[in-house]
């Protein structure tokens, strides 16, 4: 029986991605370690994403608070606004929105950069220069994305909560200390731990998909564009799938 073309392509992609991930783990812990390139990528991926992540985090907190408030007023529980906003941002909205923005910025840039290097033979040039291009280009970028996204999420959550504090104070007056005391009163270990764990998984998936699409880019500049685009689409979908899986696993562990 002949499988439909689209389904075969899906299986090909899944198989290729799995092998690529296996290659990552087989090479990650073997010398030579590319620390200089890793630090450089941490700077590019992490530090350079700060303004975008910070801005979106601030707006996210502000808008969420302003939209939640009328509903809570109806039930007379507007005093619970800091608690609700805190839980929503730390558990779900902060990690997921930051990961989606990260996928758009970093996933596409990794896909385009490696894709362009592939079609202009720069990856081959690296190999003949005595460099393992997989370690130099892929391992460093995936590790940097995995390490930087959790840090960005923590920063984004913090800025987002600050935005929420301003949002609360637009319609009422709440002190800074009272607002954050209420936020932290609503957060427990079971809220923070799964949120942190999933950000590592999001970062890994975004870095891996971007590298896979770029490293296997074909058909010239058109292929580079397709790689960048599909890196964003696939990693965004993966963010939601991982989110769903982490929720299920943490529920089974009694952390929800």
């Amino acid at each position: 029986m002949r499988l439909p073309t689209k389904f075969r392509q899906f299986l090909d992609e899944t198989g290729g991605m799995t092998l690529f991930t296996g290659r990552f783990f087989s090479q990650e812990f073997r010398p030579r370690f590319e620390f200089r390139e890793l630090f450089s990528q941490c700077y590019i991926i992490g530090y350079n994403s700060l303004p975008l992540v910070g801005l979106t985090g601030f707006i996210m907190g502000l808008v969420l608070t302003m939209q939640l408030r009328p509903s809570l007023v109806v039930y007379g529980v507007q005093s619970q606004l800091p608690l609700m906003v805190g839980v929503a941002i730390v558990r779900e909205i902060g990690p997921v929105i930051t990961a989606l923005i990260f996928a758009g910025k970093i996933g596409s840039s990794i896909g385009a950069e490696l894709g362009s290097m592939k079609v202009t033979e720069q990856i081959d040039a690296m190999e003949v220069s005595g460099t393992n291009p997989f370690k130099y280009l892929v391992v460093t970028r995936v590790v940097a994305a995995t390490l930087m996204l959790p840090i960005l999420v923590v920063l984004s959550d913090t800025i987002s909560l600050f935005g929420a504090y301003i949002g609360v104070n637009i319609r009422s007056v709440t002190s800074f200390s009272l607002f954050f005391r209420q936020v932290f009163a609503g957060l427990g270990f079971g809220d923070v731990l799964p949120a942190v764990i999933k950000t590592f998984l999001f970062g890994f998936a975004i870095g891996m998909v971007g590298c896979y699409r770029g490293y296997n880019s074909r058909n010239g500049t058109q292929g580079v564009g397709r790689s960048a685009n599909s890196a964003v689409v696939i990693s965004s979908i993966l963010v939601f799938i991982i989110d769903l899986m982490v929720v299920q696993v943490t529920a089974l562990m009694g952390l929800n």
Binding site: T120, D124, A125
Partner: protein, 242 residues
Amino acid sequence: MEPVIVIEHVFKRFGSNVVLNDFNLTVGKEENVVVLGKSGSGKSVLIKCIIGLLRAESGRIAVLGENIPDLNHDQLDRIRAKVGFLFQSNALYDSMTVRKNLEFPLRRHWFDLAQDKIDGMVKEALENVGLAHTVDMMPEELSGGMSKRVALARTLILKPEIILYDEPTTGLDPVTAREISTLIVDIQRKFHTASIVISHDMHCVKIVSDRVALLDGGKCYWQGKYEEMEASGDPVLKQFFE
């Protein structure tokens, strides 16, 4: 002439498309061999098999006495330090300056070189191609001919014994193409390198070749001097002059 590259009975295919079929060629020390062939005949595949970027399915490719298909990654790296490769697209790292492009292979092969030594080698390599003033430029600021020369400087910086040129004059105007062809000959004379030059530019072939090998149907169809090729009545050879 002592051989530095010996290719025997090499077979390579992509799916059902056979590219190299029992290909044989020998390159001697300090010899420039031009591999000529039509587009898509497998010339670039051949030199990528020689440097180990592609793996031949069968046959022997001995470079400086080592059979390339038998080597592991570390052994390949040791051979690659002695074999330069000039890519058709130049393959300059576009995120790095010319200086960083030239430093890259040095730092990968010789970890403990002092910075002043590296600076001296970069300067010397760029002077060899007449572009010492471009050291702090980005690849995007270079013209096609300058990019080719910088890529050649990057190839020369490790002082290779063999250089593989993949269509070095493609995309260049006739004047620049002639300059690059002359530069290839100058490099051979100055550094005593052996070379395989992939080309279908007959002006380049005439200037750089000590010997011409014609790749046709996956085999080495003909070998000889450029003048012999020009005088030949063989229709396959004659079509390159038409």
